[in-house]
């Protein structure tokens, strides 16, 4: 087995083994109740991997191996992408849960951004031609993947900007999940555009790159799910006597008005 082949198998198998670890960590720490959609997504990714692995070994000498594999891969990608939207929505809900003042405006802002990005994604899908030498299913999959990546990148940037503007504190797990998804979505956006441009000739390098990125994202998820997600600590000396006096003075001025 060549080094490249070994690396290929490592990048294909290792992230999914780590996903099994994530599943166990979530069950042990009760995080599956807090992030049910992410739990489902992880479970689905593992099942999809098992199915693709079986297909790869079972059909490897069949003449229709490529077609079978592509069919399973495309169907899995569609379901996985749908679940990723669920995970993003879950991160939004988690973020807003502790801030009643923001729940209404946050959700309506999220809906508005989603609608705008959806229009953009439809425009992207409609204006992107598939690659002539790729199969029809592969072309459609890549075009849709590109459109969906635009949508997911936009939603995650909105989510990060929103939490940054309002200085909201995320549970560290929700932050890690969103960060991993964000990195993966942006890399998917670039690689799907390159795949559509290069066709099958660029597949090999892009596959390594996507798989490597996915491995990194799984490690990010694992790190944040294991790390403590406790609230920020409160130091009773946050306000010095001087700060308190300054604010009190300010208050007195206001009351006098």
């Amino acid at each position: 087995m060549t080094v490249a082949r070994a690396l290929w198998y490592y990048l294909w198998i290792a992230p999914h083994l780590l996903l099994v670890v994530i599943l166990v960590v979530m069950l042990v720490r009760g995080l599956h109740r807090l992030f049910p959609m992410f739990f489902l997504y992880t479970l689905f990714e593992i099942c999809q991997f098992a199915l693709l692995l079986y297909t790869a070994f079972h059909y490897r000498y069949h003449s229709n191996f490529g077609a079978e594999y592509t069919r399973f891969y495309s169907a899995g990608l569609a379901l996985s992408t749908t679940l990723r939207f669920g995970v993003i929505y879950e991160a939004v809900v988690q973020l807003l849960r502790n801030y009643p003042a923001l729940e209404k405006s946050g959700r309506s802002g999220f809906r508005m951004v989603t609608a705008a990005l959806l229009l953009l994604a439809v425009g992207v899908a409609a204006s992107t031609p598939g690659h002539v030498t790729s199969g029809l299913l592969i072309s459609i999959t890549q075009v849709l993947n590109q459109a969906v990546s635009v949508l997911q990148c936009g939603l995650l940037i909105f989510l990060f900007s929103f939490s940054r503007y309002f200085a909201l504190s995320w549970r560290s797990q929700a932050f890690g999940i969103a960060l991993g998804l964000g990195i993966f979505a942006s890399v998917e956006l670039a690689t799907s555009a390159l795949r559509l441009h290069l066709g099958p000739s660029g597949n090999n390098f892009l596959n390594y790159f996507t798989m490597g990125t996915y491995h990194l994202c799984v490690l990010i998820w694992l790190f944040y799910l294991i790390a403590s997600g406790g609230p920020p600590s409160y130091n009773s000396q946050d306000f010095s006597q001087h700060d308190l006096e300054a604010w009190n003075l300010q208050l007195q001025k206001m009351v006098k008005k």
Partner: protein
């Protein structure tokens, strides 16, 4: 060409996310240094700056060109005040967030109220900044400062209350 656009967009999106995430990671666990970053906002001076009566007076008594210059300076100063109030509100959201996890129920309650009010101030500040900047470009509907100043006043009261809970012995805090 389209490929280049999408690849550039992807790199930009990735950089944007990493930058925003870096800010979050860097700000975690430094709650104790936040109070020192608060800046005082003179609400009375801010009210005066955006007082429609004051504006009318200046319009009536100054030549048109001079009024436009003065008004521009006033709007820029108001923007500075609003951004300062918004910055304080962001800091107080984090302080309030930490305080609401305090084992002391009074502190936790004041912390929750502070978070709520600070977020409202931040929302009002966002609207106010948009209106003020728009007013610099085109004459716009008059900006009403009531919500932001009231929110800021409420926030100040809560900061003082929270400070008292911290500084005062438990018995005094309970009596407040």
């Amino acid at each position: 060409m389209m490929t280049l656009v999408f690849v550039s967009l992807a790199i930009l999106a990735l950089a944007c996310m990493l930058l925003l995430a870096k800010g979050r990671v860097a700000s975690t666990g430094k709650v104790e240094h936040l109070a020192a970053q608060l800046r005082s906002v003179d609400v009375a001076a801010f009210r005066n700056l955006i007082d429609p009566g004051e504006e009318q007076y200046l319009r009536a008594n100054l030549p048109a060109a001079e009024f436009r210059t003065v008004q521009r300076e006033r709007v820029l100063a108001a923007i500075e005040y609003v951004s300062c109030a918004a910055r304080n509100a962001a800091i107080l959201t984090r302080l309030g967030d930490a305080a609401r996890h305090s084992p002391n129920p009074s502190t936790a309650e004041a912390g929750a109220k502070l978070v709520d009010t600070a977020i409202r101030v931040r929302i009002y500040a966002f609207h106010a900044m948009a209106t003020l900047y728009w007013g610099l470009i085109l004459p716009s509907p008059r900006f009403s400062p009531a919500r932001i100043t009231e929110g800021y006043e409420q926030m100040t009261r809560l900061v003082v209350l929270l400070g008292v809970f911290q500084q005062a012995p438990q018995g005094v805090a309970a009596a407040l």
